[in-house]
């Protein structure tokens, strides 16, 4: 059953979107320059982009790379984070390395990786993989570290092996925290995808943005911004919905994670 509050909070987000578009519309009307189209003009340009077969293929290819990079990062990062959370030796082995990697701009590796692996899908997927990994590792680590010791002792007393304890006790107990990491990672995957495409300028959604900018098709630029923004908000909302179903028993500490960038 949907409570009245939930309806209100959902319509509040919608109202906020409409409000922001309204401010944009008024701002553009006041400035009245060619390089800043109104919100309506930008919205009107969206169907022509989505109707253009080549642009659509480009955007879908971007999304496919993003999904592959994200999925690979989860497969590697969650087990690593969980093991770091349960073993002090593994944690002190990886922590300094991760601390050094943390401030490296992942999308900026694009030119170097392209030099090695070419301009194909592998380079782009690898960059997304790198961008997603750190927050997922960090949150899995935090989640696994906070697991109640008594549950692990009981599990061991009942004859569970180390691997079984990891899968049947640590994984479910850390799941809320892991999913918070995944949520941040999902938005970061989109950000890394767009940024690396803007830097590499080969194909994809980021490239369409800058090509339109170069050719002076300003309404296309702003329409693409709306599309990318909607992707971010949509993916985040969809994941939040999934998270709510998976870990209904756990109240989220914060409803918006801090580590978006």
């Amino acid at each position: 059953m949907i409570s009245a509050r939930a309806i209100l909070s959902r319509s509040a987000s919608l109202l906020a979107c409409l409000g922001l578009l309204g401010i944009w519309q008024i701002g553009a009307l006041i400035l009245n320059t060619e390089s800043f189209p109104t919100a309506l003009e930008a919205l009107r340009a969206i169907p022509s982009i989505l109707g253009d077969k080549e642009a659509l293929i480009n955007i879908l290819a971007s999304l496919r790379r993003m999904a592959v990079g994200f999925a690979l990062a989860l497969v590697v990062s969650i087990p690593l984070g969980l093991m770091m959370g349960r073993s002090r030796a593994i944690a002190s082995f990886f922590n300094p390395l991760l601390m050094i990697i943390y401030p490296v701009p992942k999308a900026a590796l694009m030119p170097i990786i392209m030099l090695w692996l070419g301009v194909g899908d592998i380079a782009k997927t690898l960059v997304i993989f790198l961008g997603v990994s750190l927050p997922v590792i960090y949150h899995s680590f935090q989640g696994a570290r906070a697991v109640e010791e008594k549950m692990l002792w009981s599990g061991a007393a009942m004859g569970l092996s180390a691997l079984q304890r990891m899968i049947r006790i640590v994984l479910p107990a850390a799941l809320p925290e892991i999913l918070t990491g995944c949520r941040t990672g999902l938005v970061l995957a989109l950000i890394t995808m767009i940024t690396s495409e803007m830097i590499a300028r080969q194909s994809g959604a980021g490239n369409i943005l800058f090509n339109a900018l170069d050719m002076g098709q300003y309404d296309t630029v702003f329409a693409m911004i709306i599309i990318v923004g909607a992707m971010g908000i949509g993916l985040d909302a969809a994941f939040e919905n999934l998270r709510g179903r998976l870990v209904r028993w756990s109240e989220p500490r914060f409803d918006i994670p801090l580590s978006f960038s």
């Binding site: 906020a16 082995f93 490296v104 900026a108 950000i191 693409m224 911004i225 971010g232 801090l258």
Partner: protein, 255 residues
């Protein structure tokens, strides 16, 4: 923890970094990769040290730092201000919450072309992008910190006759400082990353621009140098903020 355990932990931590650099050197020494694509670590670090002492390179660092701090400062002022206001006033909260909910997961880098069109190719567009990206972690952590202040503290202050406006600055703000500083740390590293990326996408100066220029001329060594420099800057700024944090929070129970 005793000194011996600490030493072994440090050694364990250095091991993967040493392994990685060793592997890097080995790939070059054994001839698996041409030196033009993967310059050996010694060469890269020598080039880094040499560049750090040249005026031109220092100037690029200066430009990047200027943009970074300008954007970060705007983000701190706006983030702490809006965050406190949203925690203190229900009507501000009702207005800010849905807007933040929409804007926080929006990939801010997608706004960059729009900022270029509106603000030009100079400092303003990059500073705005940095501020937009660093704003949300700071705003959210300020808000969460300020709204979790123990209610008894607020009541005691009011009972002692503190006017509501002063309660905000004398009780709520100091109690929220640990959380605000956590947000600032995230925001600072994000600022480092974003300023570099913005300079890579379009710029005529700064560290990010150096990487792009090197990439166009296939100078692999010069591609690594700015990347390592910005990462070192991130680590140094992070450590400085950590020092500020432990100074500011010297009276707090757990830091």
């Amino acid at each position: 923890m005793n000194a011996r355990a600490l030493t072994s932990q440090v050694l364990l931590g250095i091991a993967p970094i040493a392994l990685l650099i060793g592997l890097w050197q080995a790939i070059d020494s054994l001839g698996y990769a041409p030196l033009s694509l993967l310059p050996p670590p010694g060469l890269v670090f020598a080039r880094l040290v040499q560049q750090l002492f040249t005026g031109a390179f220092q100037q690029e660092i200066g430009v990047t730092l200027l943009r970074l701090f300008a954007g970060f400062s705007i983000a701190v002022i706006l983030g702490v201000g809006i965050g406190l206001a949203a925690a203190a006033s229900p009507s501000v909260n009702a207005l800010v919450r849905p807007i933040v909910r929409v804007l926080a997961p929006l990939p801010k880098v997608a706004l960059y072309p729009a900022l270029l069109l509106l603000l030009g190719f100079g400092h303003a567009s990059k500073v705005t992008l940095v501020a937009a990206d660093a704003l949300f972690p700071i705003l959210l952590s300020t808000y969460y910190g300020a709204s979790m202040v123990e209610q008894k503290l607020v009541w005691s202050a009011m009972a002692a006759g503190t006017p509501p406006r002063q309660v905000l600055f004398k009780v709520v703000l100091p109690a929220a400082v640990p959380s605000i500083l956590t947000g600032c740390r995230i925001g600072l590293v994000i600022s480092c990353i974003v300023v570099f990326l913005a300079e890579m996408i379009t710029s005529s100066d700064g560290l990010g621009h150096l990487l792009v220029t090197a990439a166009r001329t296939f100078q692999a060594v010069d591609m690594f140098v700015p990347l390592i420099t910005i990462s070192l800057l991130g680590l140094i700024l992070n450590a400085l903020l950590q020092a500020v944090r432990s100074y500011l929070l010297r009276g707090f129970p757990e830091v």
